[in-house]
Symmetry: C2
Subunit: 249 residues, 2 copies
DNA sequence: TCAAAGGCTGACGCACCGTCAAGGTCAAGC
DNA sequence: GCTTGACCTTGACGGTGCGTCAGCCTTTGA
């Protein structure tokens, strides 16, 4: 037999369970006017008609798709055309979210691999190059921190500077100088080799002056970037002194 | 030259922008102890070292993956093994979320197709069958609402009942009776054909009594389900009366 | 008949910040 | 030297989407 339209037989719990939302959520939707309040039975209980199931499933489908309730509210009163275009937008949004989640999966996986992956590839590549040359882990970490700070402070130029650096590393003389400088960290500050090294450094500084970091980064900031060297190496402090003597004279 | 480790040159804005979070978020992380407060400069501004960039990227990566801040807090102090297993869990969670989003895309797409798709396939199939028989849209809607209410009230049995109904529809006599009943909705309540129809209905009811809906659904609920017929059809009211005469006598 | 289950209306809580408010500080240009 | 606008500080309220508790009433099933 045909079962006729009905004014309301479902209790709030049956409705909620069947649709797959909580009772609290249904009441919340009533409070905000999203779902119309149904008639009450003689003891004040809400009694829902079949239409409420249909309405609630629409709401659930949209909210599960991440549509805010205020938007759902609008959509419910929208024309079919508005609704259709909105649905398309939402669908595109979901596609985008799926893509984002894939990216985040990659990001999370990178956390396992240490901190290599979440720095720009240019920086990590440069750091790998240093490691390959035999630069100490300490040295590599100094470089890493320095480049992080530079990249954060000068996002537009930092990648260019690091490209320059990598070009310099193509020069065998520079590579040798670089490794020596790294080792000097642990030398005695009185070590005579520091004078030799200071000569090389001073010469390089004179050559290099054009079109490099030094143009852009203010002296103040350079000193900030270079601060706390003394926490680590008396030899480097001595070296800096020797270089200063050579460049100011 | 090696750029040494540095106590802090980044302002909060540079840090936040480089990492891709808001300044407000960084301060929030400080408040909750998630990110250590850096040293302040002479005017009380926060000045961040490179390590803060690394820490903040870890936090961002995790929160973007949907990990709650409290959990991030735990993970930061966890052992590497705990961290690794947690990461695996998170990764699985992401995979699950991606699958859910795919499902939601299907659900949203179904909204465009009207209300067919988000009812159980058994019900929509049955409704389609009725349409194919020539049952009026009004009749189909009555059925839909009735079955929705039944399915919500008796989730375990409703699918069985509808299977029975579909078997009945295989009987050509039943089909004819059914279509006639549907049409009777618009008849004059004095139409003599109602008597004929009442005979058929009464006979069917006697036959059907075993093992059907009527066993389970209480009389009260049946009357609720059948309520408000009078809103729609005087002929159906008259018909119900005639059937009652035949079944109670 | 009596406990368990379900219903009702508030009201607070929470996660993760957004967004003022009400200032103090810094860098640059005049 | 002074102003202007960008940036920094703390503090506090707001908002979304309910979860959860309290305190009370009603229905249902054994």
């Amino acid at each position: 037999m045909a079962m006729p339209h009905n004014a309301g037989v479902l209790t709030i719990k049956r409705l909620a369970e069947y649709v797959g939302v909580t009772v609290r959520a249904v009441r919340h939707y009533h409070q905000t006017g999203l779902l119309p309040e149904p008639e009450r039975d003689h003891s004040g209980y809400r009694r829902y008609p079949a239409q409420a199931v249909v309405d609630l499933i629409r709401i659930r489908t949209l909210t599960e798709a991440g549509v805010p309730l205020t938007r759902v509210h609008e959509l419910i009163r929208a024309t079919p055309e508005q609704f259709a275009t909105a649905i398309e937008e939402i669908d595109q949004g979901l596609t985008r979210q799926i893509e984002e989640l894939r990216q985040r999966k990659l990001g999370v996986a990178a956390l396992q691999a240490g901190d290599r992956m979440f720095l720009p590839a240019e920086i990590t590549g440069y750091l790998d190059q240093l490691r390959a040359l035999g630069v100490s882990e300490r040295g590599v970490r100094f470089e890493r921190d320095g480049w992080i700070l530079l990249a954060a402070s000068y996002p537009d130029q930092a990648l260019g500077w690091i490209a320059q650096k990598r070009e310099q590393l193509a020069d065998p003389d520079f590579r040798e100088f670089y490794v020596t400088y790294d080792q000097a960290h642990d030398w005695d500050p009185a070590d005579p080799r520091l004078h030799e090294l200071a000569d090389v450094m001073a010469a390089r500084l004179r050559q290099e002056s054009a079109q490099t970091i030094h143009e852009v980064v203010s002296a103040d900031e350079q000193s900030l970037l270079g601060a706390h060297v003394q926490d680590y190496s008396p030899a480097w402090i001595r070296l800096a002194e020797l270089v200063r003597q050579r460049t100011t004279s």
